[in-house]
Symmetry: D2
């Protein structure tokens, strides 16, 4: 825990500086051209607490493509809208497979293993598309409210790049549709999905937006109920078992916090009852997680003695 704010700010900067050069060990995502254009040495970190403190280092106010971190927000919207019936269409088990596995989806007859692998997130995008009159706008509004910042926007360059390289997600979508587990048309579902992935936010904005998951569903900034305590618990449970792709177990081993990464280089970690850590550095390891992003979260969690497994 943080005992002295000024001391911690110094310590955070030290951790940040000591990790900086590690970005050379990873590779910036190139599966869509727009992501490959981001400079490899950009880097930022933020720690926000439910009692209102915010600590940052590096480019912590620079927006980046949140990519799969958007899956958390889509999931919360879908849970709020559909209630328990959502879990008839998507499971909550770890996948033990790459994030975009189509083999497992076939085995399980079109029911994704969980909402934070790609198939699950495409299904969530279908839920939003089919249940909101203007689902993309609704998603953007939700993000702006959570971050208390109306300037948050879609990066259209990234969005178009996603759309023109989305064959595998289309395959996942059509396979689920062949099992009757998708309601809307696949092009509409993919448009929703890629819109969500293309939101640009900074470390500070993301950390602030996710405080409700550290606070039993209540945004501590506004005291607004974002979701039920039960659903906040569930999201943290899913992030703990499945949030870091096929490195989720190793992350639980070494860090021990509910977390989610995106191929844009962002990593967020929830500390129940305490706050949120968000780091950003584009180069990824072989699992698709930010090399420096993971290291920063680990170093901060260790410094502050934060883990749910002790």
């Amino acid at each position: 825990m943080i005992k002295n704010n000024a001391n911690f700010q110094v310590k955070l900067q030290e951790i940040f500086d000591s990790q900086h050069d590690l970005y050379k060990q990873g590779n910036v995502a190139d599966y869509i051209p727009a992501l490959a254009e981001v400079p490899a040495n950009k880097m930022g970190v933020c720690v926000a607490t439910i009692d209102g403190k915010v600590f940052g280092a590096g480019s912590c106010t620079t927006p980046f493509s949140i990519q799969s971190i958007s899956k958390i927000f889509g999931l919360v919207m879908a849970m709020n809208r559909k209630g328990e019936s959502l879990w008839q269409r998507v499971n909550m088990e770890p996948s033990g497979q790459p994030f975009n596995s189509i083999i497992q989806l076939e085995w399980e007859k079109g029911i994704p293993r969980n909402p934070v692998i790609n198939a699950g997130a495409v299904l969530i995008a279908d839920v939003l598309t089919s249940n909101f009159s203007a689902s993309k706008l609704a998603f953007l509004s939700f993000m702006r409210k959570l971050a208390s910042d109306d300037s948050i926007h879609i990066d259209k360059h990234v969005y178009k790049s996603e759309l023109s390289h989305g064959s595998r997600n289309a395959a996942l979508g059509y396979l689920m549709k062949s099992f009757g587990n998708i309601e809307a048309e696949i092009p509409d579902v993919l448009s929703q999905y890629f819109t969500q992935c293309s939101v640009a936010m900074s470390c500070n904005q993301l950390a602030s937006s996710l405080l409700f998951l550290a606070n039993k569903g209540i945004d501590p900034k506004s005291n607004e109920v974002i979701c039920s305590p039960r659903d906040s618990h569930r999201v943290n449970a899913i992030l703990s078992t499945s949030g870091m792709y096929d490195q989720s177990g190793e992350f639980a081993f070494s860090v021990g916090l509910p977390a989610k990464s995106g191929v844009g280089g962002g990593v967020i970690a929830i500390v129940p009852g305490y706050g949120v850590i968000c780091s950003w550095s584009p180069p990824l390891n072989r699992f698709g997680n930010s090399v420096v992003g993971v290291n920063l979260v680990e170093a901060i969690a260790e410094e502050l003695g934060l883990s749910i497994y002790h």
Copy 2:
């Protein structure tokens, strides 16, 4: 948390009584004849805390076959003996597959996904067989020390039954051996593995034995270091993502504690910094977890407000 001991004992008995008839919803394991002989309506529960309290209800002092709960103890022994090198032979990721999947083991070239699926536990049995001069005795001694009870023993009837119905575990073992990931002879490894599974212990004994995992590796009864804080953290992380077979995610969803079940009907849950819950009821659900055992842990965790995801 428990505020009044007497009140909690009454409450625990109430929870126990309200769950009792649910045992009819499951089926006693019949994959080995010896397990099928246990009466379906036996049932017990225990809550032990690191500050020395013990609460029990039902047949909480009746020994039962601990089966896969033994994987925890074998893992701790192997970690202590081998250190970091252990993790070159077994991974720490959730499996997303049935506990005895041979398909995944083939994909991953003989490296089990984690030490608490069957393949992983057979590998751990190989580590013990290959690194202890009298490995079965060493395991039994470890169990007796942790439970502070020298009467703990192997149920030979169960052991023989396991041995004569162990073809699938033999297949897992030989497949790993074909990849060069088993050192000892398979019959010896299986003998070790089935010995561990055949230990008979009560809810009270199991809960007491596992307190070190709620206490950063230190047994609070003796202040003895059983494993490092780091390894205690790791075991809890593995149990959280993988301890309840292919229901691990759902258990995290609804309960939110590191846990492990066995096909003998036992369930243990670790509450870091607090204590251990152990329940027992032989009838299993389709995932191989005790129906009542899971329900009891869930009700107690909810009553006491225990979850790592809030």
Copy 3:
């Protein structure tokens, strides 16, 4: 072999009559509504020889949806157009999997196992789409030439039904595209593929069209070279190992001829050096092959002593 034409015509009718009621053992394909509308008791058979004889029974001049039998013709067109380079994009091995398996396609990184499973046929449709200026018309022209019948047409009702139930084939297509193994746009490829499947032809027309495969690539009616002897050999090889879905081995066992079936109820069998058998009856067995269609081919092959394995 046929020794007396009149006697064989009588025998053919006897075989036909004896099989008729077996159609009740199967189920008409219902995966697309248009196929489900075909009366279950329709039935026909034709034997055509390379020396110009044609024998028929039942509704042998009634057009039906040729469905997957079209894969043969698409393959021949693609082989003629692309030569050896075709085999870099599709393999020639039996699949050992259901005809529409997406799992195998993922394993083999977007290279279909052979051109007569669905993934392979979608790839062939891409080859035609990408290499012919008017690929649908080219396909229809090819069919009309082979059958010497300009009235052959696309059943538009079936085509539309296919198109609106084509999610799984779309999934196969997008998955191959994600591996870079599809050149055209998927909607265009699927339109080509479903056009081919929706061609309506009779037993007599199909048998006549395929005589070139029994005659080293030369159409015996016109003496025109349809494909090289080498490619004729190859097509027969593929049909022998893979033409009857996941019943290909059993069909080789009991009949022993290169063959292909379609879910419209058609079955064709090539007798190298001799002729072609074509049968039709809509109800299918669990492998997707016509119950009566398979039986008719088997009975005729046995009557005439035709098998490549004796």
Copy 4:
């Protein structure tokens, strides 16, 4: 077909000589040490016809380890002993998988796809072990009778090497046993299986032994019925779809004969109604088939115009 014996003998020698140096393109099997000891440049070929001609070149009378070619003989013995009931325990479909795939065996619940992949051959070994009083001797006697040569023997050095490197086959066996599809004890089954694989025979002996499959089940040398015409047909069907491991389709493509290879470097091909080709050269391609062995059979089949697909 052979028109002039002397000319063909010259031609055979020419083909042999032209292929010789290709052995350098492959690698001698090293999965068991005993096979790795065979000189890479050994090479022989034999053509035997049902009308009694025998043509040979190179080391065609040198015995080599027949390995998987033994699967044919075991299958014939099992078919003769068990009749139709055999096919309830093993399927007859191509596998589309590596010869030793354990994944497919798990999917298909312990029923091997066919009798010439390893799992199927281990099952056949179980049938022999369980149904013959002295099954190893019975197998050897069968081989000696077919080759008309009582000197045929087991290579004990190879046998021991197999036995000490048989973990994967043990895994296949135990997995089938766990599904209830193996009757005898696995060590006994493996001993039978490795005995069969370890028989040493020459090209001339193998070709002579298999003439019954080219002659509807009757050994043309003795006029003895070795199996029914139906079973001879079936064996040829299985060899056509599955005999050359995961290169079976390509072999059908380029050669077009029922064939079987072994990792000892032998290849046999059946020409129904005509005879048998047997070649031998230890270095293998990536599918486990002899590089030169396959080429020799292809060149001879082309020279003589032998293929079942024309």
